[in-house]
């Protein structure tokens, strides 16, 4: 993109805000967000990320899902962490999601709409940007 003007920046923000709000990227309605700070990566987040992508392909749901990375969620004691946001399900943060649980996550949460035992952790704080 060429250098922006003030108006272009504002227009971009309005557009992206809406997008981020819907968490919809090109018709995909499911977001899988992997915490990829140093702590997450050290605990195997990269492997988890790859395993999730592979599992999505395997279960034919990849077209609905955006797999994204983000920074440290603060739950360093249960890394790797993965947040799943999708319609008809409450947003959930899963901890201790090493790669061997990736398929279980995809099958149970995304396909069967049920939660995973022993992996759910709470969001550490309220979001100030939305207020």
């Amino acid at each position: 993109m060429a250098k922006m003007t003030l108006d272009q920046l504002r227009a971009l923000r309005a557009k992206k805000q809406e997008e981020l709000e819907r968490r919809n990227v090109e018709g995909k309605d499911i977001q899988v967000i992997v915490g990829m700070g140093t702590c997450g990566i050290a605990a195997g987040a990269k492997l988890t990320f790859d395993a999730i992508v592979a599992a999505l392909e395997k279960h034919n749901i990849a077209s609905r899902v955006v797999v994204r990375q983000t920074g440290c969620m603060g739950l360093c004691y249960v890394e790797p962490t993965v947040e799943v946001v999708m319609p008809d399900m409450p947003p959930v943060i899963y901890g201790k999601m090493t790669s061997e649980f990736a398929e279980e996550l995809v099958v149970k949460h995304l396909v069967e709409h049920s939660l995973l035992d022993n992996h759910i952790f709470d969001r550490p704080a309220v979001d100030i940007v939305k207020h």
């Binding site: 920046l9 923000r13 920074g71 603060g74 049920s114 759910i120 704080a125 100030i128």
Partner: protein
């Protein structure tokens, strides 16, 4: 199959010990018995953190937060909530017995963390400038360029009460003002990302999670001060943070948010990254500037302060990562909002890296004025393995230990200094009864010996001498007058060192002597280390009444120093023993004694 309700049962250690597993099983059983197992899924989760009120059961999507639930409550939860859609009000959380029930988002525990610096951390993709922009990113820059004069920006920063998060707590607005008023055409903005305390990773995580907030803040600072160039000084051992900064800088340049004529405002600002080799002293601002200039990182006396004479002799503002991450929010939400958070003199929040013998180690952000007890026992979930709390080290090798009786002090720059510690950059290491204070002090002093740049004598010689004395005490060769010497050298170093590395290096030792004098004396007089950490003070012996002479310890001993005939009590030769503890670990009869 589509569930209408999700019941989350806490499966953390605390709740499990108060029968949450039974609650979980009962909920499943009752759902089946009442024929609604297709409508509800019961899930066992990780710790919700609010262990005090456990066992905890949370129902989604209604966000009902049930506390102190008993296994026999399961039927009512299923019958009322799942079938009739009504909350079981008697189980909802309330602050005390007479209080009204409280909604999930209003619960004090979850309000204890408050994220300003980490607002985007774990929320956006740090490699996407679009997502940062969507979350009011670069809105503060718009204000700074088009709606406010530099004087107004500085006035807003001063009104917000934001103080330096690197540890010293100097008011950010005043720093900017001093640099603005310093004469000179060329000025610089420097971001100090040389985080070096053992156990601290606040700044790394902030950059990894939200690099654009730092860039935006630096441009704003440049506009306020009248600088057109900035450096980010970051240690090479943070490769991921560096990578994400590089991506962010490229994106911001591409969008015209960095570089020449930003958003057609006529203002230019550019940023470069400078990698440090990881010397602790380079976190000290004057040493950091030397390092950027390509010289050996050594501090110089102040004044003149960098705001007057900094990088290449030009007025320079040096702000720490966390300080900068606050800046955009101060402008978008306003100084009034920001100053409503925190205590009278310490505004806003503080990020801490919670580590050590604690259940929930992690990255947390709390409003100033939160107590250490709240941080360690509420947010941190208390001490691991139900051990006893001994102390918490704040400020890393420059700070001091804070003990049980001071845990209720609300955190602020002043209160922590009054306790003989300091805010520091935010490392918080929790110690339990198995940690030896002399050993810990020796560890921090060894760190300072390694990291002392050697320019001034008090630090170069003082750290070495203090380390020698501490080493002597841990080896069981200490004398009582060593404590006097430690205090004397410590005080001299504190007063006479050139920079804060030496000026604060004695803090861990002095504060542990103050709070745990008896333990030091125990090492010296009784040659005993109660935590069993000081190897030289531990003695292994074999109880002849318990030893059956199996010979296992003798076979495992790497020296070997254990002898004895078969089926007769064995003996350890104390003069050869290296205190590895192998015999103690392998003996099946409890015959090896550790003293």
């Amino acid at each position: 199959m589509a569930y209408k309700n999700f019941i989350l049962v806490c499966g953390g250690t605390g709740c499990e010990s108060s029968r949450s597993d039974e609650i979980y099983k009962n909920l499943i059983k009752e759902a089946e018995a009442l024929g609604v197992s297709r409508d509800v899924q019961v899930v066992k989760t990780g710790c919700f953190g609010f262990c005090e009120k456990g066992p905890i059961v949370k129902v989604l999507p209604s966000e009902s937060f049930y506390v102190e639930v008993k296994p026999e409550d399961a039927r009512e939860i299923i019958a009322e909530q799942v079938i009739k859609g009504r909350e079981v009000t008697r189980l909802l959380y309330r602050k005390d017995k007479k209080a009204e029930t409280t909604k999930l988002q209003d619960i004090e525990f979850y309000q204890k963390q408050f994220r300003i610096v980490l607002r985007n951390c774990g929320v956006i993709n740090p490699e996407s400038i679009d997502e940062y922009i969507a979350r009011t990113g670069y809105h503060a820059l718009e204000k700074a360029l088009f709606e406010m004069t530099p004087e107004e920006i500085i006035a807003e920063m001063k009104a917000s009460g934001l103080r330096g998060r690197g540890g010293a707590g100097f008011p950010t607005g005043m720093k900017w003002e001093a640099a603005r008023k310093s004469p000179g055409e060329v000025k610089y903005i420097v971001c100090n990302a040389d985080e070096g305390d053992p156990g601290a990773y606040m700044d790394r995580s902030t950059i990894e999670g939200d690099p654009h907030s730092i860039l935006e803040a630096m441009v704003i600072a440049g506009r306020a001060v009248g600088a057109n160039f900035g450096y980010i000084y970051i240690r090479a051992e943070y490769p991921l943070a560096i990578e994400r900064l590089k991506i962010a800088i490229a994106q911001a340049k591409d969008y015209g948010l960095l570089g020449e004529n930003i958003l057609n405002s006529g203002f230019n600002f550019d940023i470069e990254i400078r990698l440090g080799a990881g010397a602790f002293v380079c976190g000290e601002e004057t040493a950091l500037l030397q390092s950027i200039e390509g010289k050996r990182g050594m501090p110089r006396p102040k004044p003149p302060f960098p705001a007057v004479k900094g990088l290449w002799g030009k007025p320079t503002v040096i702000n720490n990562v966390e300080t900068l991450a606050n800046v955009p929010i101060v402008l978008t939400r306003g100084a009034q909002w920001f100053s409503s958070i925190g205590t009278e003199k310490s505004k806003g929040t503080k990020v801490f890296a919670l580590t050590g013998k604690i259940n929930n180690s992690g990255l947390i952000e709390v409003p100033m004025g939160t107590t250490l007890r709240e941080i360690i026992f509420d947010i941190g979930g208390g001490i691991r393995n139900n051990k006893k709390f001994k102390g918490v080290q704040t400020g890393g090798p420059s700070g001091g230990i804070i003990v049980e009786k001071d845990l209720d002090t609300p955190i602020s720059y002043e209160s922590l200094t009054a306790l003989g510690s300091m805010m520091g950059s935010g490392g918080m290491i929790v110690m339990d009864e198995d940690d030896c204070v002399v050993d810990v002090s020796k560890f921090y002093m060894a760190f300072c010996v390694d990291e002392s740049c050697g320019k001034c004598a008090p630090c170069r010689i003082g750290t070495k001498q203090m380390h020698g004395l501490l080493d002597k005490i841990t080896k069981g060769q200490g004398e009582e007058e060593d404590l006097v010497k430690l205090e004397q050298i410590g005080k001299a170093m504190t007063k006479a060192s050139l920079c804060m590395l030496g000026g604060s290096a004695a803090n861990p030792t002095l504060s542990t002597i103050r709070h745990f004098r008896d333990e030091y004396l125990e090492h010296i007089r009784d040659r005993k280390c109660r935590a069993g950490k000081c190897k030289d003070l531990v003695v292994y012996e074999i109880d002849p009444t318990k030893c059956i002479g199996c010979g296992l310890c003798a076979r495992k001993c790497p020296v070997p120093c254990i002898t004895g005939e078969k089926k007769k009590p064995h003996v350890i030769d104390g003069s050869k023993c290296i205190k590895c503890g192998e015999c103690f670990a392998v003996c099946k009869f409890g015959a090896v004694i550790k003293r």
